[in-house]
């Protein structure tokens, strides 16, 4: 496996591989998110307690899930950066962090807008909300560190250390609704046993979650390809990818 994996540590090979994935990821993201959201907004029945306000769930839950999922990916990437010092992994830090930050923002915003009619408040300093806000600041901090140094390798290393330390926050977010008394409702989907939702609501939610997974992947891949080109711009292959032919073999 290592022999197969090794060439992708190089910018050009990684760029080409990601280029093959890009259209599939983007296409699946567009189709699945559209189906999930339209199904959820138009066809799923209203909730007997929360009425139509619960329809926010079809973006709130997926965005929160992949805000945490992307952070887990970021932490693994940070580990690779610190241990093996692979350049592609360093650039992936810059690709994952902004996508994760936007997903976290979406989960916080949709949560606030859902909280207003249901709890009577936009914001409450309870464990789930506060730990998710910390996740947002972690993403912003990682990005700030990445760009804070003139040498991009130093920046990537500093950002990786913060990303790795911050991963402790992910299980805290996940279990916060069980560990502390929270205004936030418990998990809708549990791994063991039946979920509490009827399938007419569960299906669009699952499709939306799957769609957000591809959306997250597509956005990260697009940004990573940009970052690879940016860092390899001095090489002829990168110039050629941007439609600029380097004809005198410098």
């Amino acid at each position: 496996m290592w022999k197969w994996l090794h060439p992708y540590a190089k910018g050009e090979a990684a760029y080409r591989l990601l280029g093959h994935w890009q259209p599939w990821l983007s296409g699946l993201a567009l189709i699945l998110v559209s189906v999930g959201v339209i199904w959820g907004l138009l066809y799923a029945p209203a909730d007997y307690q929360q009425g139509d306000s619960y329809r926010i769930i079809f973006i709130h839950v997926p965005s929160a899930m992949f805000a945490m999922g992307a952070y887990t990916g970021l932490a693994i990437t940070a580990f690779i950066v610190l241990v093996w010092q692979i350049r592609t992994a360093e650039w992936a830090i810059a690709a994952i962090a902004p996508v994760g930050a936007v997903l976290t923002f979406i989960s916080l915003f949709t949560g606030a807008v859902w909280g207003k009619p249901m709890w009577g408040t936009w914001w409450e300093w309870d464990a789930r909300l506060t730990s998710q806000l910390i996740l947002f600041f972690l993403y912003v901090g990682v990005l700030a560190l990445y760009y804070a140094f003139n040498d991009s390798r130093t920046g990537a290393k500093a950002a990786s250390i913060l990303a790795l330390v911050g991963v402790i926050n992910v299980p805290i977010i996940h279990f916060s609704v069980y560990w502390w008394n929270s205004l936030h409702q418990g998990a809708t989907i549990t791994r063991f046993g039946d979920t509490l939702m009827p399938s007419s609501m569960k299906m669009p939610l699952y499709i939306s979650i799957l769609g957000f997974m591809f959306l997250t992947a597509a956005l990260i891949v697009y940004r990573l390809r940009n970052e690879i080109l940016k860092q390899e711009l001095h090489r002829p292959w990168a110039m050629a990818q941007l439609g600029v032919e380097n004809d005198h073999g410098v």
Binding site: D52, P98, F105, W114, P117, L219, Y222, V250
Partner: protein
């Protein structure tokens, strides 16, 4: 379909403002992230063009210098 008319769909049983605000902001945030990515790409392309012109200028100057020194060599011999 859970709604009988467009008005009902927009009204969302009184929660319309909240539901559509949440969906609108989500769409906006993802759209901005995508546009930012596309703009980065465009900027990279401009940078590559600039770099190429620079390299061509350097190559041309080197060629001129080579020609000049050749002429000088020819006249002295």
């Amino acid at each position: 379909m859970a709604f009988d008319s467009w008005q009902e769909l927009i009204w969302m049983g009184g929660y319309g403002w909240y539901v559509w605000l949440a969906y609108g902001m989500t769409f906006l945030a993802i759209a901005l992230l995508t546009i930012h990515g596309l703009l980065t790409r465009k900027k990279l392309r401009q940078l590559a063009v600039k770099k190429q012109q620079q390299q061509q200028r350097i190559a041309r100057r080197k060629q001129q210098e080579r020609n000049r020194s050749k002429l000088a060599d020819d006249s002295t011999s």
